[in-house]
Amino acid sequence: MDPFMLLLLALLAFMIIGSLIAAETEDLLSSVVCVGAIGAGLAIIDLFLGAPDLAITQVVVEILCVAILIRVVLNRKDETHRTHKDTFAVGSVLLFLGVLLVLGGWAMTTLHPFGEPLLAGDQPGVAQQYLTNGLQDTGAANYVMAVLLDYRAYDTLGEATVIFVSIIGAYVILRQRGKLRHDTGNESDS
């Protein structure tokens, strides 16, 4: 097994262990920090799999993610650990996830093996077309941007709309209270 594969598997194992810790710790703050570690591991994997764009974006998004979550978790008390555990519910969830793991793992073995994607096969498909003609068609040396903003720009417009809607939604949810309090004074005391 070559060292690249070993490194990839080690990073994947790191992410899985981090997510297990994030799932099972009692303290919310450590949980948030664990999710930050998972994102950092994903950024390193991005770098090794030939996606520097994704690595840049993932690192910064991860920092913002952890900043937002810590801002929320800090100074807010949490009493979840006092509630009793529902063993039957957790057990049935684990049972079904195990079934899903077996079926999904079986399905994964029917895919193209790792490292030999569709574009390297007999019928290369559209990706090979993009890689061959991208520079002549668009003039962009970064093929990711060529796909994102020229070949599939309509898709990107839709995704920009999704970001816009989610941000407007967050504004609306957070804002109404402030305006209400400004207008009617001490409404929240009642």
Partner: protein, 147 residues
């Protein structure tokens, strides 16, 4: 988060923020020749502004960047991206690359891709910082559930 952090943090932030913003603008502008692009650059821009907000507190920051200005930048970015698409429609097809592709590996190449990158950068940067600002402004009300 009323007065911001200590003097050391404020001084370092004063030194560093302009460089972060410059790097974000670089990432946006050179998105079509090197790794980066509108999404990554916009997130970096908003991260620089969030550093400002965390270090100086929200009173100081809102003097520099107000909430309405952020909303305007956000909407303007979305509109500019749509404008690129519609002008391409007038030139023949929706989202067609109507400018000349130019010489590869140069800044002035790739037709409409740098314009779209700038629009997306403004939109993502302003939008994400606006959300963070809204979360920071938001104060949990005085009422804590009397049990």
């Amino acid at each position: 988060m009323t007065q911001g952090m200590s003097l050391i943090v404020k001084t370092i932030t004063r030194l560093v923020t302009s460089f972060i913003t410059l790097f974000g603008i670089y990432i946006v502008l050179y998105g079509h020749v090197s790794p980066g692009g509108g999404f990554a650059g916009g997130v970096i821009l908003s991260a620089g502004m969030i550093l400002l907000l965390l270090a100086f507190g929200r009173e100081q920051t809102m003097k520099i960047i107000s909430h309405s200005a952020l909303v305007i930048w956000d909407s303007a970015g979305a509109l500019a991206f749509l404008t690129v698409a519609v002008v391409g429609y007038l030139a023949g097809d929706f989202f067609i690359n109507f400018l000349s592709t130019g010489e590869p590996y140069r800044l002035a190449s790739a037709g409409t891709i740098p314009l779209s990158n700038m629009a997306i950068g403004a939109k993502v940067g302003a939008g994400l910082f606006g959300v963070f600002l809204a979360l920071a402004i938001f104060r949990p009300g005085r009422h804590q559930e009397e049990e």
